[in-house]
Amino acid sequence: MIEFHLDARSGVSPYLQIVGQVRQALLLGLLTEGDKLPTVKEVVAKVAINPNTVSKAYRELEHQGLAAAKPGVGTFITRSLGQASLAEHGPLQRELRTWLAKARAAGLTEPGIEALFTSTFRESAESAEEEK
Protein backbone atom coordinates (compact mmCIF):
# COMPACT_ATOMS: atom_id res chain seq x y z
CA MET A 1 0.00 0.00 0.00
CA ILE A 2 1.28 3.48 -0.78
CA GLU A 3 0.67 6.77 0.98
CA PHE A 4 0.02 10.15 -0.59
CA HIS A 5 1.34 13.51 0.50
CA LEU A 6 0.24 16.86 -0.82
CA ASP A 7 2.21 19.99 -1.42
CA ALA A 8 -0.02 23.03 -0.97
CA ARG A 9 2.48 25.44 -2.53
CA SER A 10 3.35 23.45 -5.64
CA GLY A 11 0.69 25.07 -7.82
CA VAL A 12 -0.34 21.62 -9.09
CA SER A 13 -3.94 20.75 -8.29
CA PRO A 14 -4.27 18.10 -5.55
CA TYR A 15 -5.90 15.50 -7.80
CA LEU A 16 -3.06 15.76 -10.31
CA GLN A 17 -0.58 15.42 -7.47
CA ILE A 18 -2.18 12.09 -6.54
CA VAL A 19 -2.14 10.93 -10.17
CA GLY A 20 1.51 11.95 -10.37
CA GLN A 21 2.41 10.09 -7.21
CA VAL A 22 0.80 6.88 -8.46
CA ARG A 23 2.70 7.18 -11.75
CA GLN A 24 5.88 7.82 -9.83
CA ALA A 25 5.27 4.82 -7.59
CA LEU A 26 4.78 2.71 -10.73
CA LEU A 27 8.03 3.99 -12.22
CA LEU A 28 9.90 3.33 -9.00
CA GLY A 29 8.42 -0.14 -8.77
CA LEU A 30 6.59 0.63 -5.48
CA LEU A 31 3.37 -0.38 -7.22
CA THR A 32 2.82 -3.15 -9.71
CA GLU A 33 -0.08 -4.75 -11.51
CA GLY A 34 -2.70 -6.11 -9.12
CA ASP A 35 -1.80 -3.83 -6.20
CA LYS A 36 -4.65 -2.18 -4.38
CA LEU A 37 -4.71 1.59 -3.95
CA PRO A 38 -5.79 2.96 -0.56
CA THR A 39 -9.55 3.56 -0.33
CA VAL A 40 -10.89 7.09 -0.57
CA LYS A 41 -11.69 7.01 3.13
CA GLU A 42 -8.17 5.88 4.02
CA VAL A 43 -6.64 8.67 1.95
CA VAL A 44 -8.78 11.49 3.35
CA ALA A 45 -8.34 10.24 6.92
CA LYS A 46 -4.61 10.54 6.38
CA VAL A 47 -4.16 13.76 4.42
CA ALA A 48 -7.35 15.74 5.19
CA ILE A 49 -8.49 16.46 1.67
CA ASN A 50 -11.88 16.40 -0.02
CA PRO A 51 -12.99 12.83 -0.87
CA ASN A 52 -14.10 13.99 -4.33
CA THR A 53 -10.50 14.97 -5.06
CA VAL A 54 -9.36 11.39 -4.47
CA SER A 55 -12.22 9.94 -6.52
CA LYS A 56 -11.36 12.32 -9.34
CA ALA A 57 -7.71 11.23 -9.24
CA TYR A 58 -8.71 7.56 -9.34
CA ARG A 59 -11.07 8.19 -12.27
CA GLU A 60 -8.20 9.90 -14.08
CA LEU A 61 -5.97 6.86 -13.43
CA GLU A 62 -8.71 4.64 -14.85
CA HIS A 63 -8.97 6.93 -17.85
CA GLN A 64 -5.21 6.61 -18.37
CA GLY A 65 -5.59 2.84 -18.25
CA LEU A 66 -3.44 2.47 -15.16
CA ALA A 67 -6.09 1.41 -12.66
CA ALA A 68 -9.55 -0.13 -12.50
CA ALA A 69 -12.25 0.10 -9.86
CA LYS A 70 -13.88 -3.06 -8.60
CA PRO A 71 -17.16 -1.94 -7.03
CA GLY A 72 -17.26 -2.63 -3.31
CA VAL A 73 -13.68 -3.90 -3.24
CA GLY A 74 -11.42 -1.04 -4.21
CA THR A 75 -9.26 0.38 -6.97
CA PHE A 76 -6.48 -1.78 -8.37
CA ILE A 77 -3.44 -1.17 -10.52
CA THR A 78 -3.93 -2.79 -13.90
CA ARG A 79 -0.67 -2.04 -15.62
CA SER A 80 2.96 -1.65 -14.72
CA LEU A 81 4.87 1.19 -16.28
CA GLY A 82 7.59 -0.76 -18.01
CA GLN A 83 9.96 2.12 -18.29
CA ALA A 84 13.67 1.81 -17.63
CA SER A 85 14.55 2.91 -14.13
CA LEU A 86 16.30 6.22 -13.58
CA ALA A 87 19.66 4.52 -13.12
CA GLU A 88 19.50 3.28 -16.68
CA HIS A 89 19.24 6.82 -17.98
CA GLY A 90 22.95 7.44 -17.48
CA PRO A 91 23.72 8.52 -21.06
CA LEU A 92 20.84 11.01 -21.07
CA GLN A 93 21.98 12.42 -17.76
CA ARG A 94 25.52 12.82 -19.09
CA GLU A 95 24.23 14.74 -22.10
CA LEU A 96 22.22 16.99 -19.84
CA ARG A 97 25.31 17.66 -17.72
CA THR A 98 27.28 18.62 -20.85
CA TRP A 99 24.48 20.94 -21.89
CA LEU A 100 24.40 22.58 -18.45
CA ALA A 101 28.14 23.19 -18.60
CA LYS A 102 27.69 24.79 -22.04
CA ALA A 103 24.89 27.02 -20.73
CA ARG A 104 27.11 28.22 -17.86
CA ALA A 105 30.00 28.82 -20.21
CA ALA A 106 27.65 30.92 -22.36
CA GLY A 107 27.15 33.17 -19.32
CA LEU A 108 23.69 32.02 -18.19
CA THR A 109 22.97 32.34 -14.47
CA GLU A 110 21.35 29.51 -12.47
CA PRO A 111 17.85 31.11 -12.57
CA GLY A 112 18.40 31.82 -16.26
CA ILE A 113 19.19 28.16 -16.95
CA GLU A 114 16.19 27.05 -14.97
CA ALA A 115 13.87 29.47 -16.81
CA LEU A 116 15.19 28.37 -20.20
CA PHE A 117 14.85 24.71 -19.32
CA THR A 118 11.34 25.08 -17.89
CA SER A 119 10.00 27.08 -20.82
CA THR A 120 11.54 24.69 -23.38
CA PHE A 121 10.32 21.68 -21.41
CA ARG A 122 6.79 23.11 -21.32
CA GLU A 123 6.77 23.92 -25.03
CA SER A 124 7.98 20.47 -25.97
CA ALA A 125 5.48 18.81 -23.60
CA GLU A 126 2.68 20.87 -25.12
CA SER A 127 3.59 20.03 -28.70
CA ALA A 128 3.93 16.35 -27.77
CA GLU A 129 0.46 16.59 -26.22
CA GLU A 130 -0.94 18.15 -29.40
CA GLU A 131 0.56 15.44 -31.59
CA LYS A 132 -1.30 12.84 -29.55
Binding site: A8, S13, V44, V47, A48, P51, N52
Partner: protein, 299 residues
Protein backbone atom coordinates in the same frame (compact mmCIF):
# COMPACT_ATOMS: atom_id res chain seq x y z
CA UNK B 1 -31.07 15.61 -6.47
CA UNK B 2 -32.15 19.11 -5.55
CA UNK B 3 -30.06 21.82 -3.93
CA UNK B 4 -28.98 21.43 -0.30
CA UNK B 5 -29.32 25.16 0.13
CA UNK B 6 -31.37 27.46 -1.99
CA UNK B 7 -31.51 31.15 -1.08
CA UNK B 8 -33.34 33.85 -2.97
CA UNK B 9 -32.56 37.50 -2.20
CA UNK B 10 -32.07 36.52 1.42
CA UNK B 11 -31.45 39.34 3.89
CA UNK B 12 -31.09 39.95 7.60
CA UNK B 13 -31.20 43.31 9.27
CA UNK B 14 -30.41 44.07 12.90
CA UNK B 15 -31.95 47.49 13.49
CA UNK B 16 -30.05 49.74 11.10
CA UNK B 17 -27.29 47.26 10.39
CA UNK B 18 -27.66 45.03 7.34
CA UNK B 19 -25.88 41.78 8.27
CA UNK B 20 -26.80 39.93 5.10
CA UNK B 21 -28.13 41.39 1.84
CA UNK B 22 -29.47 40.09 -1.48
CA UNK B 23 -28.01 36.66 -0.87
CA UNK B 24 -28.88 34.36 -3.75
CA UNK B 25 -27.30 30.91 -3.75
CA UNK B 26 -27.97 27.47 -5.12
CA UNK B 27 -25.63 24.89 -3.64
CA UNK B 28 -25.80 21.39 -5.18
CA UNK B 29 -25.56 18.35 -2.88
CA UNK B 30 -22.51 16.20 -2.29
CA UNK B 31 -20.05 19.02 -1.73
CA UNK B 32 -17.89 20.31 1.04
CA UNK B 33 -18.68 23.98 0.80
CA UNK B 34 -16.28 26.62 2.10
CA UNK B 35 -17.90 29.86 3.18
CA UNK B 36 -15.11 32.41 3.23
CA UNK B 37 -15.09 36.05 4.19
CA UNK B 38 -13.48 38.52 6.57
CA UNK B 39 -14.76 38.80 10.13
CA UNK B 40 -18.12 40.51 10.24
CA UNK B 41 -18.99 39.65 6.63
CA UNK B 42 -22.22 37.87 7.58
CA UNK B 43 -21.03 34.26 7.57
CA UNK B 44 -22.46 33.39 10.98
CA UNK B 45 -25.73 35.13 10.14
CA UNK B 46 -26.12 33.07 6.96
CA UNK B 47 -25.30 29.80 8.74
CA UNK B 48 -27.68 30.57 11.61
CA UNK B 49 -30.48 31.30 9.17
CA UNK B 50 -29.69 28.05 7.33
CA UNK B 51 -30.10 25.96 10.46
CA UNK B 52 -33.19 27.82 11.63
CA UNK B 53 -31.73 29.65 14.62
CA UNK B 54 -32.39 33.03 13.06
CA UNK B 55 -35.27 34.18 10.89
CA UNK B 56 -34.43 36.24 7.81
CA UNK B 57 -35.92 39.73 7.49
CA UNK B 58 -36.27 39.43 3.70
CA UNK B 59 -36.06 36.87 0.93
CA UNK B 60 -36.50 33.11 1.01
CA UNK B 61 -34.38 30.14 1.97
CA UNK B 62 -34.78 26.38 1.64
CA UNK B 63 -32.40 23.86 3.17
CA UNK B 64 -32.70 20.24 1.98
CA UNK B 65 -35.85 21.30 0.17
CA UNK B 66 -37.65 22.68 3.22
CA UNK B 67 -37.74 25.81 5.30
CA UNK B 68 -35.11 25.68 8.04
CA UNK B 69 -36.45 24.22 11.30
CA UNK B 70 -39.85 23.67 9.65
CA UNK B 71 -40.46 20.66 11.92
CA UNK B 72 -38.49 18.21 14.13
CA UNK B 73 -37.87 15.91 11.14
CA UNK B 74 -36.15 18.71 9.24
CA UNK B 75 -34.06 19.58 12.31
CA UNK B 76 -32.88 15.96 12.55
CA UNK B 77 -31.49 16.13 9.01
CA UNK B 78 -29.12 18.98 9.82
CA UNK B 79 -26.12 18.97 12.16
CA UNK B 80 -24.86 22.31 13.41
CA UNK B 81 -21.68 23.14 15.28
CA UNK B 82 -21.62 26.77 16.39
CA UNK B 83 -18.57 29.01 16.52
CA UNK B 84 -15.83 27.88 18.94
CA UNK B 85 -17.32 24.35 19.01
CA UNK B 86 -19.28 24.73 22.24
CA UNK B 87 -19.75 21.85 24.68
CA UNK B 88 -21.22 21.67 28.20
CA UNK B 89 -18.28 22.28 30.54
CA UNK B 90 -19.81 20.45 33.50
CA UNK B 91 -20.92 17.38 31.58
CA UNK B 92 -18.60 14.46 30.94
CA UNK B 93 -17.80 13.09 27.49
CA UNK B 94 -20.14 10.14 28.19
CA UNK B 95 -22.91 12.56 29.25
CA UNK B 96 -22.61 14.35 25.92
CA UNK B 97 -23.19 11.08 24.09
CA UNK B 98 -26.12 10.17 26.36
CA UNK B 99 -27.67 13.58 25.74
CA UNK B 100 -27.13 13.18 22.01
CA UNK B 101 -28.84 9.78 22.07
CA UNK B 102 -31.86 11.18 23.94
CA UNK B 103 -32.29 14.24 21.75
CA UNK B 104 -31.72 12.81 18.29
CA UNK B 105 -34.01 10.27 16.61
CA UNK B 106 -31.34 8.98 14.22
CA UNK B 107 -28.49 8.83 16.78
CA UNK B 108 -25.75 6.32 15.93
CA UNK B 109 -24.46 5.03 19.28
CA UNK B 110 -21.87 2.73 17.74
CA UNK B 111 -20.37 5.45 15.61
CA UNK B 112 -20.20 7.85 18.55
CA UNK B 113 -18.49 5.25 20.78
CA UNK B 114 -16.04 4.28 18.07
CA UNK B 115 -15.06 7.88 17.45
CA UNK B 116 -14.50 8.60 21.15
CA UNK B 117 -12.26 5.53 21.36
CA UNK B 118 -10.40 6.48 18.21
CA UNK B 119 -9.79 9.95 19.64
CA UNK B 120 -8.60 8.40 22.88
CA UNK B 121 -10.96 10.53 24.97
CA UNK B 122 -11.74 9.46 28.55
CA UNK B 123 -15.56 9.11 28.75
CA UNK B 124 -15.51 10.27 32.40
CA UNK B 125 -13.61 13.46 31.64
CA UNK B 126 -15.60 16.71 32.05
CA UNK B 127 -15.78 18.62 28.77
CA UNK B 128 -14.52 21.75 30.55
CA UNK B 129 -11.24 19.95 31.23
CA UNK B 130 -10.60 18.95 27.61
CA UNK B 131 -8.13 20.76 25.37
CA UNK B 132 -9.47 23.00 22.62
CA UNK B 133 -8.76 20.36 20.00
CA UNK B 134 -10.47 17.61 22.01
CA UNK B 135 -13.51 19.81 22.62
CA UNK B 136 -13.78 20.49 18.90
CA UNK B 137 -13.56 16.76 18.21
CA UNK B 138 -16.26 16.04 20.80
CA UNK B 139 -18.58 18.64 19.25
CA UNK B 140 -17.92 17.11 15.82
CA UNK B 141 -18.62 13.61 17.17
CA UNK B 142 -21.99 14.70 18.55
CA UNK B 143 -22.88 16.42 15.26
CA UNK B 144 -21.77 13.46 13.11
CA UNK B 145 -23.42 10.76 15.27
CA UNK B 146 -26.71 12.53 14.65
CA UNK B 147 -26.30 11.19 11.09
CA UNK B 148 -27.25 14.43 9.41
CA UNK B 149 -27.59 14.88 5.66
CA UNK B 150 -26.06 18.30 5.98
CA UNK B 151 -23.44 19.36 8.47
CA UNK B 152 -23.03 23.08 9.14
CA UNK B 153 -19.87 24.17 10.95
CA UNK B 154 -19.17 27.78 11.89
CA UNK B 155 -15.43 28.56 12.03
CA UNK B 156 -14.69 25.10 13.41
CA UNK B 157 -10.89 25.34 13.27
CA UNK B 158 -10.33 29.04 13.96
CA UNK B 159 -9.22 28.56 17.56
CA UNK B 160 -7.26 25.35 17.05
CA UNK B 161 -3.50 24.95 16.76
CA UNK B 162 -2.22 23.58 13.42
CA UNK B 163 -1.99 20.00 14.64
CA UNK B 164 -5.51 19.95 16.10
CA UNK B 165 -6.73 21.70 12.94
CA UNK B 166 -5.30 18.99 10.70
CA UNK B 167 -6.66 16.24 12.92
CA UNK B 168 -10.13 17.82 13.01
CA UNK B 169 -10.26 18.16 9.23
CA UNK B 170 -9.04 14.58 8.77
CA UNK B 171 -11.89 13.27 10.89
CA UNK B 172 -14.37 15.51 9.16
CA UNK B 173 -13.28 14.31 5.70
CA UNK B 174 -13.34 10.70 6.86
CA UNK B 175 -16.95 11.04 7.91
CA UNK B 176 -17.82 12.77 4.63
CA UNK B 177 -16.25 9.87 2.71
CA UNK B 178 -18.07 7.34 4.83
CA UNK B 179 -21.56 8.84 4.97
CA UNK B 180 -21.67 11.08 1.92
CA UNK B 181 -22.71 14.00 4.11
CA UNK B 182 -22.82 17.46 2.55
CA UNK B 183 -20.90 20.01 4.57
CA UNK B 184 -20.88 23.79 4.80
CA UNK B 185 -18.05 25.22 6.85
CA UNK B 186 -16.94 28.79 7.30
CA UNK B 187 -13.54 30.33 7.84
CA UNK B 188 -11.86 33.68 7.44
CA UNK B 189 -8.77 31.86 6.17
CA UNK B 190 -8.76 30.32 2.70
CA UNK B 191 -5.73 28.22 3.55
CA UNK B 192 -7.83 26.29 6.09
CA UNK B 193 -10.30 25.29 3.41
CA UNK B 194 -8.18 24.96 0.32
CA UNK B 195 -7.79 21.20 0.41
CA UNK B 196 -11.08 20.17 1.93
CA UNK B 197 -13.57 22.26 -0.03
CA UNK B 198 -14.72 21.59 -3.56
CA UNK B 199 -17.24 24.42 -3.58
CA UNK B 200 -16.62 27.97 -2.54
CA UNK B 201 -18.80 30.89 -1.47
CA UNK B 202 -17.09 34.22 -0.87
CA UNK B 203 -19.03 36.59 1.34
CA UNK B 204 -17.85 40.17 1.90
CA UNK B 205 -19.68 43.11 3.49
CA UNK B 206 -22.91 41.12 3.77
CA UNK B 207 -22.99 40.18 0.07
CA UNK B 208 -22.08 37.07 -1.91
CA UNK B 209 -19.17 38.01 -4.20
CA UNK B 210 -18.43 34.65 -5.78
CA UNK B 211 -19.85 31.13 -5.65
CA UNK B 212 -19.08 27.95 -7.54
CA UNK B 213 -17.13 24.72 -7.74
CA UNK B 214 -13.52 25.33 -6.81
CA UNK B 215 -12.11 23.62 -9.91
CA UNK B 216 -14.35 25.67 -12.22
CA UNK B 217 -13.47 28.90 -10.48
CA UNK B 218 -9.76 28.15 -10.75
CA UNK B 219 -10.12 27.24 -14.43
CA UNK B 220 -12.05 30.41 -15.32
CA UNK B 221 -9.81 33.02 -13.73
CA UNK B 222 -6.57 34.39 -15.12
CA UNK B 223 -4.03 37.01 -14.20
CA UNK B 224 -2.97 38.95 -17.28
CA UNK B 225 0.22 40.99 -17.22
CA UNK B 226 0.81 43.29 -20.20
CA UNK B 227 2.01 46.70 -21.36
CA UNK B 228 -0.06 49.50 -19.94
CA UNK B 229 -3.56 49.64 -21.37
CA UNK B 230 -7.17 50.31 -20.44
CA UNK B 231 -9.71 47.66 -19.46
CA UNK B 232 -11.63 48.47 -22.64
CA UNK B 233 -8.64 47.31 -24.70
CA UNK B 234 -9.15 43.73 -23.53
CA UNK B 235 -11.47 41.31 -25.40
CA UNK B 236 -15.08 41.95 -24.43
CA UNK B 237 -15.71 38.33 -23.39
CA UNK B 238 -13.35 38.76 -20.45
CA UNK B 239 -14.86 40.15 -17.29
CA UNK B 240 -12.33 42.31 -15.51
CA UNK B 241 -12.38 41.61 -11.76
CA UNK B 242 -9.37 43.66 -10.78
CA UNK B 243 -7.06 46.09 -12.55
CA UNK B 244 -3.79 47.64 -11.43
CA UNK B 245 -1.49 49.94 -13.38
CA UNK B 246 2.02 51.26 -13.13
CA UNK B 247 3.41 53.82 -15.55
CA UNK B 248 4.17 51.13 -18.13
CA UNK B 249 2.52 47.91 -16.99
CA UNK B 250 -1.06 46.74 -16.39
CA UNK B 251 -2.14 43.75 -14.35
CA UNK B 252 -5.64 42.38 -14.68
CA UNK B 253 -7.51 39.56 -13.00
CA UNK B 254 -10.14 38.40 -15.45
CA UNK B 255 -12.89 35.85 -15.53
CA UNK B 256 -13.54 34.21 -18.85
CA UNK B 257 -13.79 30.88 -20.51
CA UNK B 258 -11.73 27.91 -19.42
CA UNK B 259 -9.46 28.51 -22.42
CA UNK B 260 -6.40 30.64 -21.81
CA UNK B 261 -7.03 34.11 -23.28
CA UNK B 262 -4.47 34.73 -26.00
CA UNK B 263 -2.94 38.07 -26.87
CA UNK B 264 0.26 40.06 -26.46
CA UNK B 265 0.46 39.28 -22.76
CA UNK B 266 1.29 36.65 -20.18
CA UNK B 267 -1.80 34.89 -18.81
CA UNK B 268 -1.60 32.55 -15.85
CA UNK B 269 -3.99 30.90 -13.46
CA UNK B 270 -4.28 32.18 -9.90
CA UNK B 271 -3.99 30.19 -6.72
CA UNK B 272 -7.20 29.85 -4.77
CA UNK B 273 -6.01 32.17 -2.02
CA UNK B 274 -5.11 34.94 -4.49
CA UNK B 275 -8.40 34.48 -6.26
CA UNK B 276 -10.42 34.86 -3.07
CA UNK B 277 -8.33 37.80 -1.87
CA UNK B 278 -8.90 39.56 -5.21
CA UNK B 279 -12.67 39.34 -4.74
CA UNK B 280 -12.35 40.47 -1.12
CA UNK B 281 -10.22 43.46 -2.10
CA UNK B 282 -12.62 44.39 -4.85
CA UNK B 283 -15.56 44.32 -2.43
CA UNK B 284 -13.67 46.33 0.18
CA UNK B 285 -12.65 48.81 -2.52
CA UNK B 286 -16.17 49.41 -3.81
CA UNK B 287 -17.34 49.68 -0.19
CA UNK B 288 -14.79 52.45 0.43
CA UNK B 289 -15.81 54.23 -2.76
CA UNK B 290 -19.49 54.10 -1.80
CA UNK B 291 -18.65 55.58 1.59
CA UNK B 292 -16.60 58.45 0.13
CA UNK B 293 -19.47 59.13 -2.27
CA UNK B 294 -21.89 59.30 0.65
CA UNK B 295 -19.74 61.75 2.62
CA UNK B 296 -19.40 63.88 -0.50
CA UNK B 297 -23.15 63.80 -1.09
CA UNK B 298 -23.73 64.78 2.52
CA UNK B 299 -21.65 67.89 1.99
Amino acid sequence: MSAILHAQALGKRYGRRQALAECTLEIPPGHVVGLVGPNGAGKTTLLKIACGMLAPTSGRIEVLGEQPAADPAQLARIGYVAQDTPTYANLSVADHLKLGAKLNPRWDTELAQARIEQLDLDPRQKAGKLSGGQRAQLALTVAVAKRPELLILDEPVASLDPLARRSFLRHLMESVAENGTSVILSSHLVSDLERVCDYLVVLVSSRVQLAGETDDLLAQHYRIVCTRREESDLPSDLEVIWAEHTDRQSTFVVRGDTETPTGDWVADHLELEDLVLTYMERAADSGRRAKTQKTEDAR
